[in-house]
Amino acid sequence: MLTKIAVQTIKTKWKNLLILFAGLVISTAIFYMFSTVANNKAFLTANTSIKSIIVVFVIGEILLGLITFIYLNFANRFLVQLRQREYGLLMMFGANKLSISRLLFMETFFLGLISLVMGSFLGAGLTIVAGNVLQKQLDLTLPHWQIFNSTGFIITICYFIIVFSLNGFLNQLYINRTDINKLLQANQSAEKTPKTGVANFITGIIGIVLLILSFVVMAQLVAKGIFILIALVLAIVLNISGTYLFIRSSLTLVLNVLKGSSLSATGLRRFTLGQLSFRLRAFERILTIVTLLFALALGALTVGRGYELSTPTLAEQSSPFTININQPSKQDDQLISQLQGVTYTKTYQYKQLTNEIVWDAAQFDREPLPYYKSSTSDNSSFTASVPKIQFGNANQISKPNPSDFLIRKTLTDLATATNPNHISIGNTVDTHKFAISKAPVKRVTIVHVKNMTSQPNAQILKKLAATQTKRFPTLATLGVSGAYGFLEISKGVFGGLEFMGFFLAIAFLVMLASTLMFKVLSNVDIDRRRYQILTMIGATPAQRIFANALEIAIIFIVPLTIGIIDVVYGLPMFKALMVNPYIGLTSSLLIIVSFYTLYYVLTVIIYQQMLKKGNK
């Protein structure tokens, strides 16, 4: 009989349960995704040069575990809330508490088990898709990449079984302790009344202070590498507790001020403010973790984008030409002619003697050689901009000024492919010596393009580099010269970090969407009646939709704002790992905010649909 009733409940409340179930599956999937990478130590160590990367992932896993725990705990209470009236009725008809609490435990546990199985599959699927798409998109091939990691899988299974059992046990405890009457009236019980008064004022202020302190610790200690691990943990603790108190109390202060103003009297503004002061209290924990997820997603993406964006710049800074083609064939020339945004193409002739390479001086007067002026500041390599390309003639090459000495480097880098010992032997610029030498004339073409990562340039450069490497075995170990060669090497060094940034951003973003959307949508039942009342009192459909959209917007804006500030203050922590941690911020912000806005619109649409459906 009890099973029959449980099945019936699923039938009648399947929409609510579906939201709950989707949330559980997604959280399992994301945890699996993260665990797979975090526990793949071979992958982590092979793809980054940062020793502490494993520690970072361990902290990340603990943080995600905490987020998942809060989320599952909330989802669990939602399940109990859906079912408790029915349990009350069953008890009234004579079902004993033991069988009811056992039933609830079984329900929680099985729902958890099903979502664990489905979530693991989804997680593996997401890992495959995200992993492959990203590697392709970022043009990376990462060694030791796996979509299944046994340790990660075992950790996921154990973690979720423990949490689900714990939740089941807590539910049992709740049912045992609550009397029938309370269970029966559960659906009518009001939400917690927002706190006002002195205590709230004090916690509100403490919230702001803790948040500011967390920013100070991030910027002053972690970023400067002082007591880095302790400071990092301290920053996280301060930030999470600050965010929690800020949402719980500080915002209530703001809402109270707004409610008191005469501006709030018109239309449904008071209603929205009233809803928010109740919601923020009910949402304090969820919004705290959503803020955290938002900051983590944005931070991860910014770091990933940072590497993606700064490697071409670093590459550009390394050489005034994009690629050099030794002994260009007709096919090479044809490929070069297809390059876009070409700043210059120059071809030089040289003769290779036993101990030196001789260049015809006259050609440099006709076609001056590109070079970068050496910067006067010490931090030249730490600037994010690319210096202007200079061109020097034969005289400047032979006797360069101190600030022009890099012109010799360009010359040395030109004929690398044909000469395995190019570094140790000299380069002479002499018209006469060139003319009298009997060695065969060789040619090298250098090209500079404005953008080497966009298409079709990236593709053409790849082909050119490949044919050069095939023709000149020296390049297999040396790599091609020029900015393009540097870019290829950098990808090997930074590609792993870039990939992890993007991968984690996707994971956090999906988790965020599921958490926030689930929490917001779980309120439809409470709100439906309120909107019906508004209809009766005379609120127009547009007024009602606007009020609802505004309320959800503010709930969405809170984590967005705190999350962005978190990232702005948190990014200096990456100064040790990258030239300019902020370089990827604008574009990442654009990407994340776009997705976030999309979630928002989607949530409002689903909310409206659910409100309407209930009205019929």
């Binding site: 018109t266 449904l268 919601r279 309120r530 508004l534 005379g538 609120a539």
Partner: protein, 250 residues
């Protein structure tokens, strides 16, 4: 005297796709004169709530006309209807239907806020009805902090605050104990007599109905009998209602 409600040949049917439609309301004709208090009585399933929903513009009828203050409400679009409700109608329900996230003051002020009244006017109007319904002490509280009787008074204050033409009551004493029910009915009577606001109330309780000037009895979606209070005192009318109910239910 002018009619505030004028209902002509009202029908409401369900399952019209099937072979035999079910009539929730069948050929109902009804008028309520301005300033009058009318009750609708009938057993469960007689169509009381359906009638109230159609009159209150919450549910569209299958056919027929509903004129409220000379306006055919079912000719209005959603926005016009909302505005109409906001200006002309007030509602009191059995389950109070207060918004728990708003304080008592804000709950009462809601119809005026929606009508974009000025803050000062809102404050004055709310204080006025709060005094009338003895709610001055409760204005800063939230609904969850009130007793059933107080909640229903807040609902009445909200129905009254914008001075509507007509208040609809759907079992307004249904959730109250007898003392609170009597108090509530006295307040409704006061609103009707002193503010001259017409009231249409649906109830299954003879005691509450005895406060009305006229009672329509509904059975299977049709008005089968009407009792007029005339010059009778409320107690006399109550006895008449009980007598009638004895025969009606047989």
């Amino acid at each position: 005297m002018k009619n505030v409600i004028d209902v002509k040949n009202l029908n409401l049917t369900y399952n019209t796709n099937g072979s035999k439609p079910f009539y929730a309301l069948k050929d109902v004709n009804l008028t309520v004169s301005e300033g009058k208090f009318v009750a609708i009585m009938g057993p469960s399933g007689s169509g009381k709530s359906s009638l109230l929903n159609v009159l209150a513009s919450l549910q569209a009828p299958t056919s027929g006309e509903v004129l409220i203050d000379d306006q055919n409400i079912w000719q209005l679009n959603a926005n016009q209807l909302a505005k109409f409700r906001g200006q002309k109608l007030g509602f009191i329900f059995q389950e109070y239907n207060l918004i728990e996230s708003l304080s008592v003051f804000d709950n009462i002020a809601l119809p005026l806020s929606l009508a974009k009244a000025k803050a000062a006017n809102i404050k004055e109007a709310v204080n006025h009805v709060a005094t009338l319904l003895h709610l001055t002490e409760q204005l800063t509280k939230f609904p969850s902090e009130l007793s059933g009787g107080q909640k229903q008074r807040v609902a009445a204050a909200r129905a009254l605050v914008h001075q509507p033409k007509l208040i609809f009551g759907d079992e307004p004493t249904g959730a109250l104990d007898s003392a609170n029910a009597r108090e509530m009915m006295n307040y409704l009577n006061k609103i009707n007599n002193e503010q001259h606001i017409s009231i249409l109330m649906v109830t299954h309780d003879g005691f509450s109905a005895s406060f009305a000037n006229k009672i329509h009895f509904l059975s299977d979606g049709q008005i089968v009998q009407t009792l007029e209070r005339g010059d009778q005192t409320r107690e006399e009318f109550y006895r008449a209602v009980l007598d009638f109910l004895g025969t009606f239910e047989e």
